[in-house]
């Protein structure tokens, strides 16, 4: 017999949509600072894109338009609400289903996907003008699936690692084949973080990290990578020196050069909102998504950029703290996974812009333009807020652990 979800208050079993959604949210328990920060980043992103669109219009370009981004925002916000109203148990029960759905979408990308700039990553959703990037949904799927798997596993033995690793490697392989190695690699810190949170022994986690680093180094030095991927790493290594970066500005180092130039131009206090040369010249590639941090750094200066770093990492930290506070293991892992998701993206995105890591195309969640990223970020944020607020009682052993 199919397990039934029972409401807490009533005696009736919850069926249909009622088993998934509960509007009875203990709103007073929502982590408001977290929500405010999240919405603040979201608003910042919209303002920045609006200013970019204004700059483009002023300088006779039509690359960035505010309208489509607002439309995507309108589509994404309900997913925040959806995340808030989903029942934790329903989510836990359907975690694998969601993971499976995300994997199906990833499999469909090579069949139905659109090609842009030599990569096939998007599936067009007719009617709403949205191109869905399944890899973003896959991140949610991985977090949920891992949380579900690790719900019962402490990862104490190597054998416990098989299924979780398989759960991670499958989407990684599918995403890397698009090709989108950068996105694939963001799953690594999220997964490792979740393993750690789940109780994996430190030595095993360290071992995996070291192994991964060795594999990565081997991949680069032995030309296992795609041509452009290896080239990006070569360029990064060569351009660690500023002079080399400037010398190669018209070649392979164009994007990192532009990002560094505009960040450096910001100085202490920045040029002011919408007044940066990145916006005026339009030279910075992907300035409304992957390189948006460079725009913030130029226009906000060191003070503004440092503030963003502080608040964004604080945002991730608050999620981790919320996770620590949550006694229910699945919810804890989902919330922690969400925090790790935002932290990993932030680290990689800012690292790329600052030249600390090789160039890869990764958005800054909640801030960058991009419908799929916004959608996934909103959904995860809503889910994390909901899980931390509801704190449904369980009887698993974690409930009794400090």
């Amino acid at each position: 017999m199919k397990p039934q979800v029972w409401s807490i208050k009533g005696q009736r079993p919850l069926v249909g949509w009622r088993s998934a959604i509960s509007l009875r949210m203990p709103w007073w328990r929502i982590d408001w600072p977290l929500l405010v920060l999240g919405l603040g980043f979201f608003a910042l992103g919209l303002v920045l894109v609006d200013r970019m669109a204004d700059a483009d219009a002023l300088y006779g370009r039509d690359k960035i338009l505010a309208g489509p981004q607002f439309k995507k925002a309108v589509v994404a916000v309900p997913f925040l609400l959806l995340g808030l109203v989903l029942r934790p148990r329903w989510v836990r029960r359907n975690a694998y289903a969601f993971y499976g759905f995300a994997m199906v979408l990833l499999v469909l990308v090579p069949i139905l996907g659109m090609v842009r700039n030599g990569a096939r990553r998007w599936i067009e959703i007719p009617g709403i003008g949205l191109d869905l990037q399944p890899s973003e949904l896959a991140k949610i799927g991985v977090i949920l699936a891992l949380a579900r798997t690790l719900h019962r596993s402490r990862m104490e033995h190597l054998a416990d690692w098989r299924i979780p690793i398989a759960l991670v490697l499958l989407p990684m392989a599918l995403v890397a084949a698009q090709p989108d190695l950068g996105t694939a690699l963001t799953l690594v810190p999220v997964a490792l973080g979740l393993f750690w949170m789940a109780g994996a022994p430190t030595r095993l986690v360290a071992g995996v990290v070291l192994t991964g680093a060795l594999v990565g180094y081997s991949a680069w030095s032995m030309d296992w990578l795609h041509g452009y991927q290896a080239k990006r790493i070569d360029t990064w290594v060569r351009c660690l020196d500023n002079d080399a970066l400037i010398a190669n500005r018209k070649g392979a180092a164009f994007h990192p050069y532009m990002a560094r130039t505009f960040i450096g131009h910001g100085g202490w206090l920045g040029t002011g909102l919408g007044q940066g040369i990145a916006n005026q010249s339009g030279n910075l590639p992907e300035r409304n998504c992957d390189s948006i941090f460079a725009v913030i750094a130029e226009e906000g200066g060191f003070v503004g950029a440092s503030a963003l770093v502080f608040f964004y990492l604080a945002f991730a930290a608050l999620l981790l703290v919320a996770a620590a506070r949550t006694r229910e293991r699945f919810s804890r892992l989902v919330i922690a996974g969400t925090g790790l998701y935002f932290a990993a993206h932030f680290a990689i995105n800012t690292g790329v812009n600052l030249g600390l890591v090789p160039m890869t195309g990764l958005t800054l969640p909640l801030i960058s333009a991009g419908g799929s990223s916004l959608l996934a970020s909103m959904a995860l944020l809503g889910l994390a807020l909901s899980l931390s607020a509801r704190a449904e009682p369980t009887l698993d052993s974690d409930s009794f652990r400090e």
Partner: protein, 1044 residues
């Protein structure tokens, strides 16, 4: 545990934050200066500001030539090919057919062919990519596979463009959907696939898609038709074509030009020499061009057309138009020019590429030391097949200069075409070279053409033998499908890699389509409906325009003023490094002093793509003054669409060229040109044939030695009859040149007379002009034009009636040195002064243009005139030559008693170009007066040879004049009668007492003597309203003219 685990993650976040903030500090604070400079560079731009080239004005300030800003419609063929349906269908069809399909043929079948193309299926493309065997799964070999894949990819591109599923500039959503659909539906035509994508698979979608296609095609052709009408593509009367036909012909010419240039460039890249060096049949039959044909989609016929184009282009363009003139000019300036140095330079034509530049810089290699010849030097490396010993041995036989038997000992004279006598090649060469600095290039041009033609025949024949030998010895895999030699793979690969670049480069060059001033309509059409006319643009151009005077269609002094030209591809390639350095410096925000200096130097040195320079005539000679220096402006910051922002800093203002004010009077010039172009009827013996196809010149000088008019016929504006021949086909400046033997005839007599009078001639001495042994009348062996003889004549009568016998006797009494001296006295055999350098010119910069022949005594420095030749020389025949301008100068000297250099420019900018110093003739006033009086009688006396047309009663005023005719050759008329062709001259001045105007009229190759032809032309000129008005302004009494 949970808390400790989370704590560890929080610590890592904190560390991450610290690292990021530290890095931010490093980049934004510590390195702020570095990145701020880079950011400023991004919004820092520089641009050259074009200077305005100086104008050329006439003496009264009327503009003859100036820069004009205008708008023009230009064609970018590459854009047309890729984005216009006509271009797309033509090129797609060519890909399928494997041969070029021209645009006119495509237009005739546009809709059905477009439908046929879109009826192709994805399977068909795949089959094409796999070389016809879809099941093969792989290409037959790399080369074939690559070519097929490229063809398929190109065809896919054109199909995509033709379908126009996505709007330009938008993401290719629909096309991507079609591609996805095509994967599973390879057997469905592209048109149907497109219909499904665009119309969500509705059943009627295909028909709708087809209708949409037809509409698009029809609209595109209607647009072209409208454009053709508004661009004034005028159809000649009686021609049934429409303006759009002419436009499409122009587009097809552009296409061919792009492909021809690309093919020539590819060939040169692969072989190291220009394809035009080879005779057409050798080029086509001995060398395989399959690789070029496949790259460009050509068939055998197109290849043959290309071979013809490059051969004629190389011969007339580079060899005869650039190489030989530059070499001959270099020879003329060489103080040691002799037969050997002439041969050295002729050999350069046959040496490998780069020899011309080396020769001009370092001097030519002596002909007997030349070891490498073009094409031969690369025989062993340029083909897959190695050159046999026999083929290599033939290098030593390719030219006479390489024959060992002639190199040791080196004797230049043995290499010249054989012959003896005054008209032999050797004699003519020696005479020309004797002039040294005074010998104009064109004098040698005819000789060099003769020699090069003979040498080239031999060169091509030997080269053909060598290549045939190589073909015979080559293995099957060293020959191409056509049977010709395969070029070495390395060369082909190198060239093929750059094929796309060459096609793109040549295809992106703007080609002017419109002529003259553009009306509003095409500008409106092309700017408002830009998307409907891909490849057509409206651009602001600055063009050098000659100005016709009001009421006159012809441009005055067209040849004399000369032409300008933009830098050629070779010139642009030569300055490539400087241009790159200039761009680099322009992009720098902070330049040090040295870099600023370098920037200023390069701005002046690097020619812009459309920066013209004078290449002939006045434009070339005064190039240093007419050209200016480009300016440079920097912009810091960006300017928005409202024009706000951005700070322009002028680093260097442009310096415009200086205006050159000539001594030419455009009214007189026009009058002279008009007279020459439409000569008036003479008497019953005038030459109607010459009148219908005039060849000649008219010079008018002021009494101060300023050139008032220099008219020449034919020029580039002349209408040339289809049956015209000889000199009528050659447009050049005939006031300064003598393209053929050009004796002045009897117009030379006054100078002989004046000189002889001053050296003891008794003017009362009588010479009998009577019967001579060879028939007719004359003196000894020289006939007089008066077959009845003049009887006993004295000097005055001899001048008045132009008695040949008297001057034959007089010439006989003079020595060779006397003749040299008298010619020197009056300026014969010397430059006229038109190429006199401005006072500020230190002579270090070579000036081109205004080339003039100097004629003179054609016997060489050490030569001696025989008695016969002295008799002829006394009559201005055989060994005496002159140009109209030289004769005008001599006439002025005779009229005024002073010799001076003529002047063509009087002011340049604010600087005066003063007249030259006047040097009194070394001839007494008495002698001059005697001759002058006699010349008055030439017109006034009833027996004077100019009386019939130039008598005071005919003109209305008096002139002093001399006529002259000089036989050239016999020709046979239509009825088989023998007719003597001659030069006919008239030279004189007016008023006789105080010369204000000097005139010379010259008819080239007429059957009428001066008394029956040239004098009437002289009268026509002198009675032009402009001339009369000019004379009246100088207080010359021309009232008698009105009374006639």
């Amino acid at each position: 545990m949970i808390r400790s685990r989370v704590g560890a993650l929080l610590v890592m976040l904190a560390l991450l934050g610290a690292v990021l903030i530290a890095r931010l500090f490093q980049v934004q604070v510590h390195e702020h200066e570095v990145w701020s400079a880079e950011a400023a560079r991004l919004v820092h731009s520089g641009r050259e500001i074009h200077y305005r080239r100086g104008r050329v004005l006439d003496a009264r300030g009327r503009v003859l030539v100036q820069d004009e800003d205008r708008r023009a419609v230009v064609l970018i063929y590459r854009d047309f090919r890729r984005e216009h349906p006509l271009g797309q269908v033509a090129h797609a069809r060519s890909l399928l057919a494997g041969r070029p399909i021209d645009l006119a043929e495509t237009r005739a079948h546009l809709v059905p062919w477009a439908k046929e193309l879109l009826a192709l299926k994805p399977h068909d493309l795949r089959a094409l990519a796999l070389g016809g065997d879809e099941d093969a799964g792989h290409a037959a070999d790399d080369d074939v596979g690559n070519r097929n894949a490229r063809r398929a990819a190109d065809l896919a591109f054109y199909l995509r463009q033709l379908l126009a599923l996505d709007a330009p500039g938008q993401p290719p959503r629909r096309w991507n959907r079609l591609v996805a659909l095509a994967r599973e539906n390879g057997g469905i035509p592209f048109l149907e696939l497109a219909a499904r994508v665009r119309n969500d698979g509705r059943p009627s979608a295909t028909a709708e898609e087809e209708r949409r296609l037809e509409e698009r095609l029809t609209r595109s052709m209607d647009g072209l038709a409208t454009l053709a009408r508004w661009l004034d593509f005028e159809v000649p009367e009686g021609d049934l074509r429409e303006p759009i036909d002419l436009l499409i012909e122009e587009l097809e010419r552009a296409r061919r030009s792009v492909e021809d240039a690309t093919a020539a460039k590819l060939f040169a890249e692969a072989t190291g020499f220009a394809p035009g060096r080879l005779a057409e049949d050798t080029l086509l039959e001995c060398i395989d061009h399959t690789w070029i044909a496949e790259l460009l989609g050509w068939d055998a016929q197109r290849l043959a057309e290309w071979a013809h184009t490059v051969r004629t282009g190389w011969q007339s363009g580079w060899r005869d138009g650039v190489c030989v003139p530059r070499l001959l000019w270099d020879l003329v300036l060489d103080p040691k020019s002799d037969g050997g140095s002439f041969l050295d330079r002729m050999t350069v034509v046959f040496e490998p590429e780069g020899a011309l530049e080396r020769s001009l810089v370092d001097g030519p290699t002596p002909w007997y030391e030349v070891s490498e010849l073009a094409v031969f030097s690369g025989l062993d490396e340029m083909f897959e097949a190695r050159a046999s010993d026999e083929a290599l041995r033939l290098t030593g036989e390719a030219l006479p200069v390489t024959l060992e038997s002639l190199r040791k000992p080196p004797d230049a004279l043995r290499l010249l075409p054989p012959g003896s006598g005054a008209e032999s090649f050797r004699s003519r060469l020696e005479r020309s070279l004797e002039r040294r600095r005074q010998t104009a290039v064109e004098t040698l041009t005819g000789l060099s053409a003769e020699l090069i033609e003979a040498w080239d025949l031999r060169y091509q024949e030997v080269l053909r033998r060598a290549l045939d030998e190589m073909v015979r010895a080559a293995a099957p895999d060293e020959r191409g499908p056509s049977g010709g030699l395969l070029l070495a793979e390395e060369g082909r690969d190198r060239a093929a890699e750059r094929a796309e670049y060459f096609l793109k480069d040549y295809g992106q060059r703007a080609r002017p389509l419109s002529r003259g001033e553009l009306t509003y309509d095409p500008v409106y059409l092309l700017t408002r409906r830009e998307a409907d006319f891909p490849g057509f643009q409206v651009r602001d151009l600055r063009a050098r325009e000659a100005c016709a005077q009001p009421g006159d269609d012809a441009l005055p002094a067209h040849e004399l003023l000369g032409l300008v030209s933009a830098p050629s591809l070779e010139q642009r390639m030569r300055q490539r490094d400087d241009a790159a350095r200039l761009r680099d410096l322009e992009g720098r925000r902070d330049r040090d002093e040295e870099e600023e200096e370098e920037l200023r130097r390069l701005i002046g040195a690097v020619r812009l793509e459309d920066e013209v320079r004078g290449v002939s005539g006045i434009e070339a000679f005064f190039e240093p003054e007419l050209s200016g220096t480009n300016g440079f402006a920097e912009t810091r910051g960006l300017q928005d669409v409202f024009g706000a922002g951005g700070e322009e800093i002028a680093v260097r203002d442009p310096v415009d060229g200086e205006d050159v004010v000539l001594t030419l009077d455009v009214a007189l010039q026009t009058a002279a040109q008009r007279s020459l172009r439409e000569p008036a009827e003479g008497d019953e013996k005038s030459d109607e044939r010459w009148r219908a196809n005039p060849v000649g010149a008219i010079v008018l000088l002021s009494g101060d030695g300023d050139v008032l008019a220099a008219a020449s016929e034919p020029d580039d504006q002349s209408w040339i009859a289809p049956e015209a021949e000889g000199q009528r086909l050659l447009a050049l400046e005939r006031t300064l040149r003598k393209p053929t033997f050009q004796p002045p005839g009897s117009v030379f007599k006054p100078y002989v007379a004046a000189w002889a009078l001053d050296h003891g001639l008794d003017p009362e001495h009588v010479v009998v002009c009577g019967p001579i042994a060879r028939g007719g009348c004359g003196y000894k062996d020289l006939r007089c034009w008066n077959t009845a003889g003049h009887g006993p004549v004295r000097l005055e009568e001899a001048l008045e009636r132009s008695c040949n016998a008297y001057f034959a006797w007089l010439g006989e009494t003079l020595s060779t040195e006397d003749f040299r001296e008298l010619m020197q006295t009056f300026g014969f055999g010397q430059p006229t002064g038109l190429r006199r350098l401005p006072p500020w010119d230190d002579g270090l910069v070579r000036r081109g243009g205004l080339f003039e022949d100097v004629g003179g005594l054609a016997i060489g420095r050490e030569g001696e005139l025989s008695e016969t030749l002295r008799r002829m020389a006394g009559n201005g025949l055989a060994v005496v030559e002159a140009t109209p301008m030289q004769l005008a100068r001599a006439t002025l000297a005779l009229a005024t008693g002073e010799n001076r250099e003529l002047r063509i420019a009087q002011r340049i900018g604010e600087r005066e170009f003063p007249p030259s110093a006047r040097v009194p003739l070394a001839i007494s006033r008495k002698s001059l007066d005697f001759v002058r009086a006699a010349l008055r009688r030439v017109a006034s006396a009833p027996l004077g040879t100019a009386h019939a047309a130039l008598a005071p009663g005919e003109l209305g005023f008096e002139v002093a004049v001399k006529t002259g005719s000089a036989d050239l050759e016999n020709r046979t008329d239509d009825e088989g009668h023998s007719i003597v062709q001659k030069h006919a001259w008239v030279s004189g001045w007016l008023p006789p007492e105080h010369p204000q105007l000097v005139f010379v009229v010259f008819q080239h190759g007429t059957s009428a003597t001066s008394s029956h032809g040239a004098i009437y032309l002289a009268r026509q000129v002198l009675l032009q309203p402009e001339v009369l008005s000019w004379l009246a302004d100088r207080a010359v009494d021309v009232s008698g003219v009105a009374a006639r």
